[in-house]
Structure formats: structure tokens, C-alpha cells
């Protein structure tokens, strides 16, 4: 717990926050410059924090103002935080490089200059909020980080100011507000019962009293609304499909993961044992329903961005297999399998972030080149935009779970754990989800490979540089397939009980 390491945690939150202040104070094109200048700083910072944790083998901690919990608020980085900091920095770098040309710096009229300014400012704001979620060690501080995330995400949905996206943004905001107030109610109950909100202190005390289960249930329900787990997904497709491509990538790849990781922290770090195996199974079933429903709805969409948004609904479902599998159905399940499920679940977060960001950006380029995103009008696309369609396909491999890709590693680990723990029903859902994903991706790639319809309007040119950014992220999603198929030692750093044992 070196002091210098702790300082890095503060920087990870304060650098993007400082960027927001600079952008708001100066306005205009400085916002874009500030965001682009932050990219290398953020990457270096994330790598440095991960390296310190990896070599030290213990979490980094920083006590703000020198006050110890429970009065003070701590920042804490364990292996999970390090992985999330890294993937956030990488995906945000990809999105920012893509958006550099997406939002031209000097648009003629006032409203068109406003959208880029808002985008670049909120990009930095969301980065800071995400880092605050990964690093928070206090349940109330995490509530504030979660709200920052919502306030940054909602305006991105309605950047174009059209009525449809305004409705989508408002619906998103209302879902998110219900979610956060339920979370806050749970925080209040926990404080009333335990007198502390520090995650490590909560973990150290017994929490079999019913009030902890009620609080955890309220908080989980709130977080599910923000994560858009079926059946609380209603806000997601219009919001993610309506936003500009760069913003959709940010929302789908990273923002929904913030509340998911918070749910993981609540269940496994703060209140291990407050929730029984039955509730873990319930979360898994909701996840399975999301996988099937999201995949089936994606198959039926006529427009590419809606298809990709429904694919997010399905892929979020996979994340929730983490709960039943990492808890284990029976205490007799070997710890190694539960640990494998833990790594697999987090790997799915990482792989989906990279693949979905690439996919939304590819969808954005396709929409720009054709002037529409109706799938039945995609003839001749592969000939006109080979790099973009190739990137779309590579990202799709990860969603399907084809080897070698990050999605394959994640799904293989979850699959192995579900078979080894004799919870075969998750294996059925994982395989069915892969088939559905293959179905909806070929529905896009098929027309794209076909010859252009005679008399079809010409496809606009897209600079190769912009297509290369999308391809870069898609290749990164593929390279994640090189991660070894075993429990990750980095992800186990800072876990109180690496082989999770249920208290009951």
C-alpha cells in the first residue's frame, strides 16, 4: 500500500474531471484537444496501476484526506479494478480516435458546434465517473459515481435533439433514477444496521440479519434497471440505437458495465453470504432469458443499429451467469470451478466492451456511407467498405463465441464451469445464445456480401483512417482470445476469499 500508488488512484479520477473543467471553462474546440490529450495519460496511468498491483500482489488503497473509514472515504484498486481501468482506457481511446472525424471541429452553425462540445466534455466526464466506479470502496461514494455515470450518459443519447431521441433519453433517465433511488434506500438500510459503508469493513462483519438481504435485494434491483437486464431492458434499444455511433459505443461498451460491476462488488465483496444460492440462481435465469430474448429480438430487426442494441441486451445476459456459477450451487463444488466462472464472467465484460464498441462504430460508418442503416439495402457494401465489414465480422466472432476471440474465452470458461458444477442449464443458454448471435450476424453479413442491386445509390467514401480505428478495436477483441483458459491470478488479487465459499 505505497503512498505513490495511492496517488495514482486519485489521478485516475481527477485527470478526466480536470479535463471536464478545462472544457467547460474554455468551451469550443479546446474540449476535443483536452480529451485527445488525456488519452495517452489515461492509458499510461491504467497500465501503471495494473503493473503495481500485479507486482505487489496486494490492492492499492488511498484514504482521501487521510481520514480512515468509516468516517473517511477510501479509494481501493484490486485486480478487478485494474482490469476495468485498462479496458476503459483502451476502449475510450478507440472511441475518441473514431470520433475525431465523426464530430468535425468547425461546423458552420451553432447547434452543430454544440453537439461535439457536449460529446467531448461528457466523454471525459464518463471516463472519470467510470474510474470512480472501479475504484470506489464506499457504497455511498459509489452511489455518487453511479449518478455521475447516468448524468453523463443521458445527454449523449439525445445529442441530435430530435423528439425520438429525447424520448429515449427521458425514458433512460427515469429508469436510471428509479434504479439509483432503490440503491440509495439499500445504502441507508445498511448504514442503519452496520454503521459503516466501507466495503472492506462490511465484508468483515457478519451479515446474516434479514435487513442485509433486504438491502442487497433493493440495491440489486436498482442496479439491474441501470444494467438493462431483462425484463428491465426496455429503455436500452431506443437509447443505444438513437445516439450517434461514437456515443452508442461508449454507452453499450462501458456505461452499462458500471452498474454491473457494482452489483458484483455488492454480492461478492461487500455482503458475501447476505444473498443465498436461490437468489443467485434467479439472477442467472434472468440472464438466460435476456440471452434468448435479446438474440431473438436482434434477429427480427430491420435496422442495423437496433440489431446491435438488442445484441447488447442479449450479451448482458451472459454476465449474470457469473452469479450462480461463482457462488456454486453446492458447497461441494470445487473452488477452482467457481474461480474459473469468476474469471469467465469478468472476461465477458472485457470482451463485450471491445467487440461492441467496434461493432457500433462499424454500424456508424455503414450508416454514414449508405445514408441509411436498413439491412435489406446493404447490397454491395462489402465491396465498397471491405475494411469496415471485415471489422464488423471480427467483432461478431467475439459475440458468437467463435475461437480465437475474447468472447470465445469468456464463454468457454463459463461453459466449463457450468458443466463442472453440474449446472448444465446455463450451458444450454450459452450455446443457444451463440447460435442466435450467429444468426443475426449472418443476417447482416449475407446482404453485405451480395452484389449491389442495379440502380442502387452510390456508397459514399469513408477515409481509410477511420475504418482502421474500428478494425483496430475489432482485432483487439480477437486478440483477447489469447488470454489463457484458466482462472486469472490478476483478477484474484484483493479477493477476500478467492475460492468463494457461501456462508450458509
Amino acid at each position: 500500500m505505497s503512498a505513490s500508488g495511492g496517488f495514482l488512484l486519485v489521478l485516475a479520477i481527477m485527470l478526466p474531471a480536470g479535463g471536464v473543467l478545462v472544457a467547460v471553462a474554455t468551451g469550443g474546440r479546446i474540449a476535443r484537444l483536452a480529451a485527445l490529450a488525456l488519452l495517452p495519460c489515461g492509458l499510461v496511468l491504467a497500465v501503471a496501476i495494473a503493473a503495481l498491483i500485479r507486482t505487489g500482489g496486494v490492492p492499492l488503497e488511498y484514504r482521501v484526506g487521510g481520514w480512515a473509514p468509516p468516517l473517511g472515504v477510501a479509494l481501493r484498486a484490486d485486480g478487478l479494478s485494474a482490469v476495468m481501468l485498462l479496458i476503459t482506457a483502451i476502449v475510450i481511446a478507440g472511441i475518441a480516435l473514431f470520433a475525431r472525424d465523426y464530430f468535425p471541429a468547425d461546423a458552420p452553425d451553432e447547434t452543430e458546434r454544440r453537439a461535439p462540445f457536449v460529446f467531448w466534455t461528457l466523454l471525459m466526464g464518463l471516463w472519470g465517473a467510470l474510474n470512480a466506479v472501479w475504484l470506489g470502496a464506499d457504497l455511498f461514494n459509489l452511489y455518487v459515481a453511479l449518478e455521475l455515470l447516468t448524468f453523463g450518459a443521458v445527454p449523449l443519447v439525445s445529442l441530435d435533439g430530435k423528439p425520438d431521441t429525447l424520448r429515449a433519453a427521458l425514458r433512460y433517465l427515469l429508469f436510471a433514477l428509479i434504479g439509483s433511488v432503490l440503491y440509495l434506500l439499500g445504502v441507508g438500510l445498511i448504514y442503519g444496521a452496520a454503521g459503516t459503508l466501507d466495503i472492506a469493513q462490511l465484508a468483515a462483519m457478519p451479515h446474516t440479519a434479514p435487513v442485509f438481504a433486504i438491502a442487497a435485494a433493493l440495491m440489486t434491483a436498482g442496479l439491474l434497471a441501470k444494467t438493462a437486464l431483462f425484463p428491465l431492458h426496455l429503455w436500452l434499444p431506443p437509447a443505444h440505437a438513437g445516439a450517434p455511433a461514437a456515443a452508442s459505443a461508449l454507452l453499450s461498451a462501458l456505461v452499462v458495465k458500471g452498474s454491473f460491476i457494482l452489483a458484483v462488488r455488492l454480492w461478492f465483496d461487500a455482503l458475501p453470504g447476505a444473498m443465498g444460492p436461490a437468489s443467485a440462481q434467479l439472477l442467472g435465469w434472468l440472464g438466460a432469458a435476456a440471452v434468448v430474448f435479446g438474440g431473438a429480438m436482434a434477429l427480427r430487426q430491420q435496422r442495423l443499429k437496433l440489431l446491435v442494441a438488442y445484441s447488447t441486451v442479449g450479451q448482458i445476459g451472459y454476465l449474470f451467469f457469473l452469479f450462480p456459477l461463482a457462488f456454486g450451487a453446492a458447497a461441494s463444488d470445487p473452488a477452482a470451478w467457481r474461480d474459473l466462472a469468476w474469471t469467465g464472467g469478468i472476461m465477458q465484460v472485457v470482451a463485450h466492451a471491445a467487440a461492441k464498441a467496434a461493432m457500433f462504430m462499424a454500424a456508424g460508418l455503414i450508416g454514414e456511407a449508405l445514408g441509411h442503416d436498413r439491412i435489406d439495402g446493404f447490397g454491395g457494401l462489402a465491396r465498397a467498405l471491405p475494411v469496415t465489414v471485415f471489422a464488423f465480422g471480427l467483432a461478431g466472432m467475439s459475440l458468437m463465441g467463435l475461437p480465437p476471440s475474447g468472447g470465445f474465452v469468456a464463454k468457454a470458461m463459463l461453459l466449463t464451469a457450468s458443466v463442472a458444477e453440474a449446472q448444465w442449464w446455463w450451458a444450454v443458454a450459452i450455446l443457444a445464445g451463440g447460435l442466435l448471435a450467429a444468426g443475426y450476424l449472418f443476417r447482416v453479413l449475407g446482404p453485405a456480401m451480395a452484389a449491389a442491386a442495379p440502380g442502387a445509390p452510390p456508397v459514399a467514401e469513408i477515409p481509410l483512417r477511420r475504418q482502421a480505428v474500428v478494425l483496430g478495436l475489432a482485432v483487439f477483441a480477437l486478440l483477447l482470445g489469447l488470454v489463457p483458459l484458466r482462472p486469472s491470478p490478476l483478477l484474484d488479487i484483493g479477493r477476500a476469499t478467492p475460492p468463494l465459499v457461501l456462508a450458509r
Binding site: P70, L71, F140, Y143, V144, E147, T150, F151, V154, P155, S158, G161, K162, P163, D164, L166, R167, A169, L170, R171, L173, L174, L177, I178, S180, V181, L184, L185, V187, G188, L189, Y191, G192, G195
Partner: protein, 106 residues
């Protein structure tokens, strides 16, 4: 009945009214108002915990009060954002219904 119990029951009532309004009322403005009632109930609950949790001879635990102040700021910002979206929606379409655009062809 102690003051803490009374305030606790009031908080429960506010939370219930707020949840009912959010679930049943279709108009966005009413939903925002219901969210504020719900938030008010939760904040009142924090006040109850401040009184009940006070130990060591203090009249009240200051931590929940600090949390409530932060929560008020957050919920004020949320309300402002929601109202801004509702106003903009009304400016664009003439009414602020959430469901008008659903299923509408473009």
C-alpha cells in the same frame, strides 16, 4: 411511539406513494414529481438512522446527515436534467408524452 418510529413510518409512506406514482402515472412530469417524493422518503429514512444510530452520548449521528446533503444535490441535479428534457421535448413536439413515438415509422 417514539419520534424515530413516527418518522420511519412517514418515510415508508412517502416511498410507497413515490413508487406508486412512478409505476402508474404515464406523464413524465408526474413521474419526476413521484421520484422526488420517493427520494424525500429515502432521505427521511437517513434522518431516522441518524437518530437511532447515535451512540456515545451524541444527540445524532452526523454521517447520515452528510449523506443526505450529498443525496439532495444529486437528486436536485437529476430533477433539473429531467425537467430540461421534458421542456425540450415539449418545444419540439408540442406535448411531452413518453409514448407518442413508439412504433411510429420514420
Amino acid at each position: 411511539m417514539s419520534a424515530a418510529t413516527l418518522y420511519g413510518l412517514l418515510a415508508c409512506a412517502l416511498v410507497g406513494i413515490g413508487l406508486y406514482g412512478l409505476a402508474v402515472r404515464p406523464e413524465p412530469l408526474r413521474k419526476v414529481l413521484a421520484f422526488n417524493l420517493l427520494g424525500g422518503g429515502v432521505f427521511l429514512l437517513f434522518g431516522v438512522f441518524a437518530r437511532r444510530g447515535a451512540g456515545a452520548g451524541f444527540a445524532g449521528d452526523p454521517v447520515p446527515q452528510a449523506l443526505v446533503i450529498t443525496g439532495l444535490v444529486v437528486s436536485f441535479a437529476a430533477t433539473a436534467l429531467a425537467i430540461a428534457l421534458v421542456l425540450r421535448l415539449r418545444d419540439e413536439t408540442g406535448d411531452a408524452a413518453l409514448d407518442a413515438g413508439d412504433g411510429k415509422a420514420e
